[in-house]
Point group: C2
Chain length 487, copies 2
């Protein structure tokens, strides 16, 4: 009896499915009595750490130093850049009391660390020899969300905010850094099997103070897009506000150019949401907290199975994150326990395997069973890991590609904006899911009209060919924008 | 010319020495414009991570699950246990505003996580099968310190608070856990070459709500003791306040027994303070961010040294955290750079080493030079690491032991308390440094008298032999207490 995994959770019950998997796989507990704040449980936290260790390696390879900046930001420093204040004034938590005393200076909980970092950068940077400066940190951060919060996706305490900040001598170098950041994120999401599109946000939707904002979006099973990473070119906005100047080779003091880029635990949520099935989590082997579980199938009449399982464990333990499950439970219960947690390969060891010095491997992604000799078991599992990773990539990519459509025009035959976005919205005005690339003329007015029905993600980051088709206003289109519904 | 390291910073200039090493080795920057908050720099943060990864392994081996609990604690939960409120009411930061709005419920920044954790434990624990529960986290925490703050040692944002919390069915099991916690900390500090004494705190100096508090103390170069770890037996204080009950095997619902134990970045500060010398940091090889640095000594007339250095690098790179320093600087500058950062072994490669296919190794702890064949270099460095660790342990232990003295009586000949503590305080009333173990009768009154002059650390945790000598009151002594000056 081979189980049949259903590829993706149907969008109709995605939210319930997600909450149930979070609970059953012991990822996190969001019954903490504060909206938008949750408790990470050991299995979930290990998954989170494995994921961010992928990022840690990528950032180390590309010359980023890991730092830690204070959580608390004095009001005077927080209030130095006008766009920034405006962007965050409704979202910042303020500490006003220490003990029973009112503080002289209010302290903001970091909603992101531009202000404390750039204050310090202005002390650290004196000359061109101090540039480029590239640092990052993995920290908790806070937003007083007024929208409905969602575990992993919209939080008041974001526990896993990875923010990188760089400073450069020239605009050219800073723009190159933007490209490197995009490359790093591509490699990151590729290693996690998360499909994405990359869009340049429209000017009215940029990060406060940014000259350019680039966003990575994935699509969740209910068809909505989720922003999973952003890269911002800041130009000299902050270097002027925070006085980040350097003495250049030509003896002239100049303001520096800056970039910043971030991701959060939304990546953890995305992996869960995109790859999970009716049996629970399905995890890419490289980040699975437990990669292999050995389940002995013992019978009173046949001694030695447990001993043989230990022999198998000894063979595997230096190669994989492996668990030998010797609990006093029926095999079926154990299968269920580890399937929910997405363990990529289960090793079943019964009397038959013991007798023939073999092992039966079961893939979590397809439930396919493979018999192997004990001598080949390490190599066979490594091979399976590669197959599992490719299979996960292929099936999610083909689904993802089917969710991103192109339209020849934003206008339908009837000429009304309402059914123009026919790929996304059905005749009853319901969102159908996915992303559509539509041609527009480029006038903000037209985008505003469109944004009454759908969210505008922005232009594709990658170069697009010749633009064809007609804008909503009837003029020939000059560019492409992506539209969808965002989380 | 062999350099001669001075073993320990003289206590007269310890604070300046410490601040200078923090600056030169790029550990942290405490010029952040908020008292008691600092910025960890990349080298310091890597050191910090290596140190806490030692703890992570120890806690994993002993069955502790790593979790993450929210920073923000709603006032109602924070205020559930009376001793706890009293202990922390003067030290807690309160968030009162979200954006421009006043919050309905004030939120505390965690000063420690008993209250949020135990609130959740009461939901998680239903039966004896859920016990023991053993979790820990590494988080930032906040205390509104009114005393003078000190980098690493007394902070308002403690960035690296490792707190473990356990729940048990019986008092006996909880007390066994206390012993395991003490064992874990011993192994932790041993691996870091930090010497310590373990004392039972007197009842008036316990953690708020605890039945017993056990503290690890080291001694800093200025002779003051620094609390570097605590283990608390909580009994049922919190289980009753937070309603942590379980259905026992006998069908009766019972309150659980609890423990908690913590350390912080004081361990990082201690390693720096205790092992550093006039040339900067000296780090145990197991936690050094860079374990080996290769410095080529090149001459225009002798080509090939850089290539040979790369060959050496290739030999070492899979065994150690190794850096090949190819910067355009003089070797002397490079030596200085890496000595300040405490790199345990420097590999010097010049024309002579190239010719003879050898390498010259220089130990950071003694500056001893050792020549080795290229073929033996990996084994030789491993050997040196062991020697360096033992040497660091031996020299710090002998110093530490010389700082802990025993007294036969607390009374001097003159009978005045002032000079009774002659080991600690000189004739001018100045603190001389170290710890003294003195006999006392056990009455709180006598302890209070003593505490006017020195701080009472408590009784030794280890069993002591027969107690001899006289108390300050003239009665025969019944126990031993340790006294000192604390940070």
């Amino acid at each position: 009896m081979v189980k049949k995994p259903r590829l993706l959770p149907p969008k109709s019950n995605f939210p319930e499915w997600f909450d149930q998997v979070m609970f059953l796989a012991e990822i996190a507990d969001f019954t903490y009595p504060l909206k938008g704040c949750g408790v990470w449980l050991p299995f979930g936290w290990e998954l989170r750490n494995n994921i961010f260790n992928v990022m840690r390696r990528l950032l180390k390879e590309t010359g980023h130093g890991e730092v830690y900046f204070p959580l608390l930001i004095p009001e005077g420093i927080f209030m130095k850049e006008a766009h920034f204040i405006k962007g965050f004034e409704n979202e910042v938590y303020w500490v006003t009391h220490g003990g029973l005393k009112e503080l002289d200076v209010k302290l903001a909980l970091r909603p992101t660390s531009e202000t404390p970092m750039y204050h310090m950068f202005s002390k650290w940077i004196r000359s061109h020899a101090d540039l480029p400066l590239k640092v990052w940190q993995l920290v908790n951060m806070f937003r007083y969300e007024t929208k409905a919060t969602r575990p992993m996706f919209r939080l008041r305490e974001v526990t896993s905010f990875k923010e990188a900040h760089t400073v450069h001598a020239t605009e050219e170098e800073a723009l190159k850094q933007v490209e490197q950041a995009v490359e790093i994120y591509k490699r990151f999401f590729d290693q996690l099997c998360i499909p994405y599109i990359i869009s340049k946000r429209p000017p009215y939707d940029r990060f406060p103070g940014a000259k350019e904002s680039i966003a990575f979006e994935t699509i969740l099973p209910d068809g909505r897009t989720l922003q999973i990473g952003t890269v911002h070119y800041l130009g000299q906005t902050f270097s002027k506000a925070f006085n980040i100047k350097f003495l250049d080779r030509d003896g002239v003091e100049k303001y520096a150019y800056q970039t910043c880029y971030g991701v959060s635990e939304r990546v953890v949520g995305s992996i869960i949401a995109l790859h999970g099935d009716d049996h629970g989590l399905v995890l890419p082997p490289n980040i699975a907290p437990i990669q292999v579980v050995i389940v002995p199938i013992t019978f009173k009449e046949v001694p030695g199975v447990e001993e043989y399982s230990k022999e198998v464990y000894e063979k595997l333990k230096n190669h994989f994150r492996v668990e030998l499950d010797l609990r006093e439970k029926r095999p079926g219960e154990k299968y269920y326990h580890w399937e929910v947690r997405g363990v990529p390969v289960r090793v079943e060891i019964g009397p038959e395997e013991m007798r023939s010095k073999t092992a039966t491997l079961v893939r979590r992604d397809t439930f396919e069973r493979i018999k192997t000799d004990l001598d080949d078991v390490v190599g066979k599992i490594e091979e399976l890991f590669n197959d599992i990773k490719s299979n996960m990539e292929n099936r999610i990519t083909s689904w993802f590609e089917s969710m991103v459509k192109k339209a020849e025009t934003f206008l339908s035959l009837s000429g009304e904006a309402k059914d123009a976005v026919y790929h996304l919205i059905d005749e009853n005005g319901e969102f159908k899911g996915g992303v559509v690339e539509v041609p527009i003329c480029g006038d903000v007015e037209c985008e505003m009209k469109i944004s009454k029905f759908v969210d505008i993600l922005g232009e594709p980051w990658e170069r697009v060919g010749e633009v064809k088709g007609m804008c909503i206003c009837g003029k020939p289109a000059r560019k492409i924008v992506r539209v969808s519904k965002q989380y």
